[in-house]
């Protein structure tokens, strides 16, 4: 029960990050590594502001803005300075590490008690209302995921969103239809990194601290959720993709929790397990093909 609760709450928080990764990798078809930086930017900004006494919701909103800014930087490096997408992301990511230490003032910021001697976070108002901390995290994360998902769905259905989706498909055609693809790429990266930073901000408040090494592996974790979603549900519409990713993100957390509950596994094995999951999920089409061939042969003899 505890394992499931933990997996659901982390799964929900990280689904925002997975959706961000989905926007750059799948919608824009650009492998944007700056999200690794945006997680810690979001986490660090939120931690710093919250521990400084700022309203946690305001702090979280600010964290998103910083994430959007990281996306803006990657986007400008890529479109205006013509740096290849993957490198533009890496540059932003590397820079983010320095920026986040400036923001936090240290490489690790706990959400220390302040004011009337207690830790506040976005979840506090729910625990104050009598919810357990675990339930408060699940409830609020769920609400945020639903609101963010609905807003994103509506945005992607507008003329502007439609132009973003087309840009990921075929830039040549999009320009021929009179759309500035640079603007669309930058907008999509801002949106993507904003969501990732939001996840980072919630994560920091969930675990009670932010540190610079939180972001390592973000890409792979996000991709893991996206790929699990795609392999299991094969979503074909934008909104079904969003729902599938949220479920995929929770499933990923469950797999991790189960794997780590095995005795000889250590928490630090997490990234190894993630890499294995992604590898398996990526080979699924190949495995399926092989299996169907084997079964076909058995059928013949």
């Amino acid at each position: 029960m505890l394992i499931i609760q933990g997996a659901v709450s982390l799964g929900l928080i990280f689904s925002l990050m997975a959706i961000g990764v989905f926007l750059s990798f799948r919608i824009l078809k650009m492998p944007d590594l700056s999200v690794e930086g945006s997680v810690i930017l979001g986490a660090g900004m939120a931690a710093r502001l919250v521990s400084g006494g700022v309203n946690p919701f305001l702090a979280t909103a600010f964290a998103m803005v910083v994430g959007c800014f990281a996306g803006l930087v990657s986007g400008v490096l890529h479109t205006k300075l013509k740096i290849p997408g993957i490198l533009a992301g890496i540059l932003t990511m590397v820079a983010s590490y320095s920026v986040v230490i400036r923001i936090m003032g240290a490489s690790n910021v706990p959400l220390l008690p302040h004011g009337p001697q207690r830790v506040v976070s976005v979840f506090t108002f729910l625990t104050d209302a009598g919810l357990s901390r675990a339930n408060a995290i699940i409830l609020l994360s769920l609400v945020i995921v639903i609101v963010a998902g609905a807003l994103l769905y509506c945005f992607m259905g507008t003329e502007f969103g439609s132009a973003i989706r087309a840009t990921g498909n075929n830039q040549q055609m999009v320009r021929a239809q009179g759309i500035n693809t640079d603007v669309m790429i930058i907008a999509c990266l801002m949106l993507s990194n904003g969501l990732v930073a939001l996840a980072g901000a919630l994560w920091a408040q969930q675990q009670g601290f932010a540190s610079v090494d939180m972001g390592i592996g973000t890409i792979v974790v996000g991709l893991a959720s996206v790929i699990i979603a795609e392999v299991l549900f094969r979503p074909r519409m934008f909104w079904t993709s969003l729902i599938a990713i949220v479920i995929g993100s929770i499933i990923y957390r469950l797999i991790i929790a189960l794997a780590l509950s095995v005795d000889f596994m250590r928490p630090t094995d997490l990234r190894l397990i993630t890499a294995v999951i992604v590898t398996i999920a990526l080979c699924m089409p190949l495995i399926r093909e092989k299996c169907s061939k084997i079964f076909a042969k058995k059928g013949e003899s």
């Binding site: 945005f155 259905g157 507008t158 003329e159 502007f160 969103g161 439609s162 132009a163 989706r165 087309a166 990921g168 498909n169 075929n170 040549q172 055609m173 999009v174 320009r175 021929a176 239809q177 009179g178 759309i179 500035n180 693809t181």
Partner: protein, 264 residues
């Protein structure tokens, strides 16, 4: 309508692979002109179209559409004046998006993209009517992904998208070359139908001499970055493939044997 003046473009200047793709090309299309463009491989036909479309920029010279100088205007901005269909059917459409989404994108060519919903029911009706004119049954498949369509269907859709909002100039770069002969014929017929119906100013590159002779009111032949022949009306109507071959030989001093232009 389209005025091109003394365009020069050299690829990779100052290197061993330097290539003068266009050497002072000038042409003037009147409103409603439908010019077919022929010429051997590497003659500069695509380069000329790309300079008009803004995917390439000339070293020298000027391009204007309907009196507006667009020589340095970025591709996406001048798209408001231009309709384009590419050789590769995949280049003209967004694969993962539906037919109606593609049409809705094209219908807004030249408009800023705002936060209104990307399509509405009134448009849908209009798209259905226009799709029906293609006679491919696409009017019943509005929400099908374009990736499901055949090359010919995609090219017909691209053509419709390029002309959905009437362009001042329609640019077609061997848009039937990737299709099988029967489909190519059908798409060419559709092209004529649409061009004639809306009296569109059109520049169509083709490698098929017969098509070049049969369609349009004007014909141009390019050779090594120059226009070496430009005939109109009566004079064009009386041309034959033999005439074209002879003219090419006199102009270039070469015989057209190995060139794919012969493959009519």
């Amino acid at each position: 309508m389209l005025n091109i003046e003394n365009i020069h473009l050299t690829f990779d200047p100052g290197t061993p692979i330097e290539k003068h793709a266009l050497n002072g090309v000038s042409l003037n299309l009147e409103r409603g002109d439908y010019v077919t463009v022929i010429g051997g491989n590497g003659a500069g036909k695509s380069t000329l179209l790309n300079i008009t479309a803004g995917t390439l920029f000339p070293d020298k010279g000027a391009v204007s559409v309907d009196g507006v100088n667009i020589t340095h205007m970025p591709e996406y901005k001048r798209a408001q004046y231009l309709g384009r269909v590419f050789q590769d059917p995949r280049r003209g459409t967004a694969t993962d998006m539906s037919i109606e989404e593609n049409l809705a994108l094209a219908y807004r060519r030249g408009k800023t993209r705002g936060l209104r919903w990307h399509i509405n029911n009134k448009e849908r009706k209009f798209y259905k009517e226009r799709l029906a004119t293609l006679d491919l049954g696409l009017e019943n498949r509005l929400s099908d992904k374009v990736g499901l369509l055949s090359g010919g269907q995609r090219q017909a859709l691209s053509l419709l998208m390029a002309t959905l909002k009437e362009p001042k100039v329609l640019l077609l770069d061997e848009h039937t070359a990737a299709l099988d002969p029967k489909t190519a014929k059908k798409v060419l017929e559709l092209t004529n139908k649409i061009v004639n119906k809306y009296n569109l100013t059109t520049m169509m590159v083709t490698h098929n001499m017969r098509d070049a002779l049969k369609n349009g009111n004007r014909l141009m032949m390019m050779y090594e970055g120059n226009i070496i022949l430009d005939v109109k009306g009566e004079e064009k109507a009386n041309l034959t493939v033999q005439d074209l071959l002879k003219m090419f030989e006199t102009a270039s001093g070469e015989e057209m044997t190995s060139d794919r232009m012969l493959l009519t």
